[in-house]
Symmetry: C3
């Protein structure tokens, strides 16, 4: 199994979810995070004044998938999360050695 993790714009989470559902993905975990990338945070106009914003609010999305689905899920997230502006995010894939569904005790690909 794999874990596909994405840090995306908060405004793109619904698109990401819909594109995963369209692929048949049936679970997801999200959390509030903050971060910066190559622009080191950004400068915003707020109430007429310019403020340096050091970190930007983002949403982390995590999806446990079977090996064969990892690439497709990665691409679907990238596509759904893209607005074309800086700060659209990162997606990465990490290995998972075992998974268990708590209620039933099912393991491995059955548990996803």
């Amino acid at each position: 199994m794999k874990l596909v993790t994405a840090v995306v714009q908060q405004t793109r989470v619904d698109e990401v979810r819909q594109s995963l559902t369209a692929l048949g993905v049936r679970g997801m975990t999200i959390a509030d995070v903050q971060g910066y990338g190559r622009q080191q945070g950004h400068t915003e106009i707020y109430r007429g004044a310019e403020y340096k914003v050091d970190v930007v609010d983002k949403t982390r999305v995590e999806v446990l998938v079977n090996d064969v689905d990892a690439d497709e899920v990665l691409r679907a997230i990238v596509s759904a999360a893209r607005s074309g502006r800086v700060g659209d995010g990162k997606v990465w894939v990490t290995p998972v050695e075992s998974v268990v569904r708590v209620r039933t005790g099912e393991t491995g690909e059955q548990a996803i």
Copy 2:
């Protein structure tokens, strides 16, 4: 080393902690997350009206463990987190290449 990650019901975190302590596990990190599984979120009665709840509040639990302890810790979390109802959660295991205790600089299994 391994990282055992669980997304569990908020109401089961104390049971999880106690079962880990009983095993001799001496550290844990938790965070608020939201998610859905095969039921795609659920329908709840709230103030007499039926609302579609798209994501459900959960707690993520992470435990760094030595290789030999990973299976036992996984099983302890599954057992402590189980209420028998849908939404009880997922537990998974991922590889960890190195660990350092910040205060002392100890590394590897000494750092856990």
Copy 3:
């Protein structure tokens, strides 16, 4: 690629960021977490009374890095996060199989 994850004192996040910037690291994700280590949470004086605090607020820091940078980034975080007191935190390294920059579709080390 690697993911360097740290759970550190909230008061050390700025030092961690500065030391990473000095190394040329150009991105980071942070999140609020809670946890305990070998002291099982700690005892604090609050408004004159002694309270048992079971979990302590910490910040999780995550940094995607190229393989060759992982050790240096790990050491920089450990050094910047260290106050010398218990609870200074843990840092660990996990393998990452692929990374994509959402806006451009760049992959691998180009995406970091």
